[in-house]
Amino acid sequence: MTLLGQFCLWIALLVGTWGAVVGFSGRWQGRPALAEAVIRSVYAVFGLMVVATICLWQGLISHDFNIEYVAGYTSRNLPTYFIVSALWAGQKGSLLFWAVVLSLFSSLAQWLTSARYRALMPYVAATTLTVVTFFVTVMVFAANPFERLAFTPADGRGLNPQLQNIGMVIHPPMLYLGYISIAIPFAFAIAALLSNRLDTGWIHAIRKWTLMSWLFLSIGITLGMWWAYVELGWGGYWAWDPVENASLLPWLTMSAFLHSVMIQEKRGMLKRWNMMLIVGSFLLSIFGTFITRSGVIASVHSFTQSNVGYFFLAFLVAAAVLSFTLLYTRWDRLEAEVNLESMVSREAAFLFNNLLFVGVAFSVLWGTLFPILSEAVRGTKITVGPPFFNKVNVPMGLLLLALTGIGPLIAWRKASTANLQRQFTWPVVTGAVVLGLTLASGMRHLYSIMALALGGFVAGTLVQEFARGTRARHRMYNESYPRALAHLVARNRRRYGGYLVHAGILIYFVAFTGMAFKRDMEATLKPGDSITMTSPFGHQYQFTHVGVSQYESLNRVVTAASVEVKKDGKTLGIMSSEKRQHVDSFGRPTFEPSTEVAIRSNLQEDLYIVFAGAVQGTEQAVYRFTINPLVLWVWLGGMVLVAGGLITMWPGGPTARGTPRRAQAGYEVQLKTAATP
């Protein structure tokens, strides 16, 4: 099967290269037969990638340890679902995963895109084939997943214990799906530039793709936070690690695009900016891959260092130069159709929102690369850790939160004073009430106070928007309030789905403030010993060490330390944190013992208990007890955000059918503008 897999990679390399070259030249020369052929080659490459993936999966599942990748990431006693997920656990397998998913998306883009955009499709095919072929090239020449060893080990090394978590089964594919699907909007952007079809057509064609990409990135980032929280054991979920930052960058620029594209759809403005955001998002997704795989910046997430980093750097530079050169040559054709009429308008609010999104993205990129810059300029190595990022980014994040509430309150084109007064009164009152309550509660952490007060303002905005819409439907159609709310959302999915996304962001921000009040302590306890801790919400927790037990499980020896937990004198139950010594099928230790955290969550706070180790091989245990306020809200915020995203992109509905009509409305606005003295 490895021979077949290798064969598929080589054939995909040839077909992909042919398709990319012919796709660009065939469309350029106006030869439809060649253009049709390149689209068929997209499907062919997808088929080849599927066969190659099946070959590697077959090797993984059949324990063919003669394959270097199989021996490096699996063992005989690894549970099957982790063997399946080992496809994306290592450098080489994840490149194959990337290539197969991108070829799938490329095929779907060809298959599902409306015939209206047929003129763009050969260029789209050629662009996606170029990207797929790049990944195949890296595999063939630098990171072959089918590489064989000179000998066959009796058992594999097994999967890193920290990857043996359901979060790692789901989180990387989600993030990859987000990264990879950006290539489709990028391909449409390049196609629009090459074909000079720079109206809003390509924007409509990619709408679902951009939403999907953003949604997958959101899910991937949130799952990554969850995995870090439950698995890494440091008691937090975001450490501003370079690889975490790399995943945030395209999310920020895609978020900016999802806002600014509305202005292009409605008003024919920001064409250049939107093109730059899509190209920039794609380049940032490649940059993230480069960071993860090159080892240029130290990160806990990095794959083993290898020379694939040079491939990615070369591709990144080439893609940036070609894309921006192409954009430059079409600059004049991307002139806005209308100009902004007022600084107090939703368009202006969106522009400043875009400025902030891109500003935060730049700030994160700047901080991530600053150690390299510092070493190059001063010759001194420095560390840029969480204190730096918090200091620089939190104020910008708060401004962004404020705009989350301001944007929906301002009318398109020009807002009148009366309109502003009517829209802002209740949200501002809500924000002020929350501010008063937080100050009265004795809270003195400035950023937390600001986040909560702005959170109150945004919540006021969202409730007001839903309430007014529901009330209007109730009056107009005599519907009951729940029915009116359901119809309101169903008939305006994009708008109210977007508001739900804002609600998710608001919940995130409120949850993040909890980390400022985190409490933790270390304690060494003999069985029967107790300690007490008071939580930020004033609850008294008592932890009593019950004992330590050891037992063998499927592929590990488990040492479990248990504590009985009481809250305000009432028994909550037993919580057990574990040390896991993973072993191969011969019982030989494979990695250093890893830690499994015990977590108990409620809406107020998480109890987070880590068994640090045993004192001199006895049951006397060293623990770290942490109380993390509001963590559950991070995951709830993620769910709300994803639900909002799904509503926004749900197919059908009046909003989708109304899109061309609204585009038409945009042009009629010009008529009105010109006619108004």
Partner: protein, 199 residues
């Protein structure tokens, strides 16, 4: 009559010899109860529970010590601060050593800044979790915010300029260039604009 194999005999003999050669261990195993028995039982496989730990002390939890250690990066390559590393990565031997250094410096009567300065002198600037806001490092802190402010100012200026152009165009549009619109078209236009406002 039980039969003892040669391998079993040799194994038994080696255990007996081992016991003679290491009496302390055999005495300990007799005196120490197993896990779950007695006050403090012994673990069957201590190595599986990770490196042996020393008991935590009151000083380990001092807010002062925690605050100082949050400012210092563990040099093991984990990218974590000393406090987080020593309470998370229990296989790391670097962060416990750096923790002891922090305690020793506190014992010498040094304040937080002096302790951090001592670490910088020993390990270089890289030991700080965030660079000091001075010299070239100021660029790290100030460039994003400055660019954002400049971007905001530039955007405001550009938008105002564009708005002036729009205003001037409105004034100069001659009445004859106004499109002919039927009342139905005007009504439709108003409906469309109302739709747009609602979005």
């Amino acid at each position: 009559m039980s039969v003892v194999s040669r391998r079993g005999f040799l194994a038994g003999l080696s255990v007996a010899i081992g016991g003679l050669g290491n009496p302390g261990r055999s005495v300990r195993s007799q005196q120490q109860p197993q896990a779950g028995q007695g006050d403090v039982g012994s673990l069957r496989d201590p190595a599986a529970a990770g490196p042996p730990k020393t008991p935590a002390t009151e000083r380990d939890n001092e807010p002062f010590i925690q605050a100082v250690e949050h400012r210092i990066r563990c040099t093991c390559g984990c990218n974590l601060d000393v406090y987080t590393c020593r309470t998370t990565d229990f296989t790391c031997s670097t962060s416990p050593r750096m923790h002891r250094e922090v305690l020793a410096l506190e014992d010498q009567g040094k304040n937080a800044d002096q302790i951090v300065a001592a670490f910088v002198a020993q390990y270089g600037e890289q030991v700080l979790m965030a660079p000091k806001p001075e010299g070239f490092n100021l660029a790290g802190y100030l460039v994003p915010g400055t660019l954002l402010l400049m971007g905001g100012a530039l955007l405001t200026v550009l938008l105002r300029r564009r708005m002036r152009v729009v205003a001037a165009e409105r004034v100069t549009v001659p009445a004859s260039s106004m499109p002919d619109a039927t009342p139905e078209e005007v009504a439709r236009l108003n409906r469309e604009l109302a739709d747009l406002e609602r979005e």
